[in-house]
């Protein structure tokens, strides 16, 4: 291989990392078990809520709260050790001797884990959607163009939002895996990220309302954390289409930006942490050395 390090070389590197990571996921039986377990839980929830015959939007209402917990949980499980594994084994140091940058490495791993997220989390939700399609009342087959009509398109929106929501938590959990120095540390950080991500936004919102924040600001502030953004988007773009509602639950543009922003932030933070962690420790050693002299 000769010549300048071009886009083709960069893509080849990302592609190799992607294939290896995807193969690792495919060879981990635990992820399949998680997907089957999630499917069972979702089916149970829909069944308890009246079964698939109730339609797409009622099913979304039943699944919204569990999704707020299960999607982040599974995304964190998929991501919290990804970058740590190579760092601890020493393989990352070997990979760095090849013409692939830290950004390319993180992108390759992230894309593979995104595919895994779609398979482990998105697929069970999609199967439930198929189940509803097969069992729901006739009017749920209508492709909605206006409010008040149940539709599979609304469920597809729900699936898209779940993927975006999961991607945000996946990227943040990958940052955890880049920052951690041990498996136990990664688990602790992952639990912390999960709790802050799922509960932190709501608690902060309640706190701000108790301290006199104008309620009209809630729609904007709810979008800042991933869970608030996801919940608000589901209300605005899925449930709200069928049920007329007054006032905004969330600022849609800000909520989409928030989820995409968290995903981008997690990815960039992963790259930055991997790239600069060794440099930071070296800087600290240099300071110690200077003082010791």
């Amino acid at each position: 291989m000769t010549g300048d390090f071009g886009v083709t070389d960069a893509f080849a590197g990302v592609g190799a990392i992607f294939r290896r990571e995807l193969a690792t996921v495919l060879r981990t039986p635990g992820y399949g078990v998680l997907a089957v377990g999630l499917l069972a839980v979702l089916w149970l929830l829909v069944a308890v809520g009246g079964g698939g015959a109730t339609g797409f939007v009622p099913a979304v209402v039943d699944l919204l709260l569990p999704a707020e917990l299960l999607v982040p949980l599974l995304a964190v499980v998929l991501g919290y050790r990804t970058l740590l594994a190579d760092a601890v084994s020493g393989e990352f140091a070997v990979i760095r001797t090849y013409p692939v940058g830290v950004a390319g490495y993180v992108v390759g791993v992230l894309f593979a884990r995104l595919v895994a997220l779609v398979a482990v989390v998105g697929l069970p939700f999609a199967v439930i959607g198929g189940y509803i399609w097969l069992t729901a009342a006739p009017d749920t087959g209508i492709f909605a163009t206006h409010a008040g009509v149940d539709s599979p398109l609304l469920y597809v929106r729900f699936l898209a939002l779940i993927t975006l929501f999961g991607a945000a938590f996946l990227a943040l959990s990958m940052w955890v895996s880049a920052a951690a120095t041990s498996r136990r540390g990664a688990a602790a950080l992952a639990v912390l990220a999960f709790l802050v991500g799922t509960l932190g936004g709501d608690l902060a919102l309640i706190q701000s309302l108790m301290t006199g924040t104008d309620p009209s600001a809630v729609a904007g502030r709810a979008a800042l954390m991933p869970n608030g953004a996801f919940r608000g988007l589901v209300f605005e773009t899925v449930i709200g289409v069928s049920f007329a509602q007054e006032g905004n639950v969330v600022d849609v543009g800000r909520a989409v930006g928030s989820l995409a922003g968290w995903a981008l932030f997690g990815s960039l933070a992963s790259v930055g942490t991997l790239a600069f962690r060794e440099r930071m420790s070296t800087v600290i050693e240099r300071v110690r050395f200077r003082f010791a002299e």
Binding site: F5, R20, T24, A85, A93, I95, T97
Partner: protein, 266 residues
């Protein structure tokens, strides 16, 4: 490749102390007692251990399009669940290499379809050596490639490294197997407590010390280094350095005379 006044500390304790060396083409063996700084030096050469002071100038370091360093760490790091061929195929894709040819070069063709975790320790090290040589880098750094191997595997690992070390290629290996150094190395760097005790062409060094083998050279150079470092033994920080060096390298020797000869020492 030039190492200029390299110092590396861990927790403020020097592990490599003002090391300056030049590595030419051929096979250079880095020897020394446990905790003398061998792994830290090799990590620095491979670019995985940044220096605290000093610098390392490597061939083709600015050329990002090609693999300029091949590296095998002390612990073979390959991911479990993949076969030997799949493991090398991953690395080969990064440099447009041929995994089967790489496997053949270390005699592992018959084990190509075995999972990495099912390979013996020796086979894993050979796989690591094949990985390091993928992409034909001009510098290959192998940290104890013969560690824990039976005599046959040790010989095979060193022979592979020596065969790769041509006129245009620098191969640096750390080892405790001094008989293999006798058989295969062109040059030797001996470290003691983070400093260069002796460095240079193996034959020239043996002549200067009046010895016939690397084992005798090791003893003579080590004795010189210990004698010249006696005054520093009173320094309590040294025991801490040695303890910390189990993972990272070695401690501070302080100033002492170093018997250096040949082309390697700067």
């Amino acid at each position: 490749m030039v190492v200029d006044d390299l110092t590396r500390t861990y927790g403020g304790v020097p592990v490599l102390d003002s090391v300056s060396l030049t590595f030419g083409s051929g096979l250079t063996a880095v020897i020394g007692p446990n905790g003398s700084g061998k792994s830290t030096l090799l990590g620095a050469l491979a670019g995985t251990v940044p220096p605290i002071t000093g610098e390392i100038r490597r061939p083709n370091a600015e050329d990002m399009s090609e693999k300029s360093i091949g590296y095998l760490p002390q612990q073979v790091p390959f991911r479990e669940g993949f076969t030997a061929r799949e493991t090398l195929a991953f690395y080969a894709r990064l440099v447009d290499g041929d995994p089967d040819a790489a496997l053949a070069s270390v005699g592992l063709s018959d084990a190509a379809d075995k999972a990495v975790e099912d390979l013996s320790g020796g086979m894993q090290r050979l796989l690591g050596i094949a990985q390091a040589m993928l992409g034909d880098p001009p510098l290959v750094v192998l940290d104890e490639p013969a560690s824990g191997l039976d005599p046959g595997m040790r010989e095979r690992a060193f022979r592979t490294a020596a065969t790769y070390a041509t006129d245009d290629v620098t191969v640096v290996v750390s080892t405790h197997n001094l008989d293999l150094v006798d058989a295969h190395a062109d040059r030797v760097v001996m470290l003691a407590r983070g400093r260069v005790a002796a460095a240079g062409d193996l034959n020239v060094l043996c002549d200067e010390y009046g010895v016939d083998t690397t084992a005798a050279l090791y003893e003579a150079a080590g004795r010189d280094a210990a004698l010249s470092g006696t005054a520093d033994d009173a320094n309590p920080s040294r025991s801490g350095a040695a303890a910390g060096d189990e993972q990272n390298g070695s401690g501070d020797d302080g100033d002492r005379d170093v018997h250096v000869t040949g082309v390697s020492e700067r």
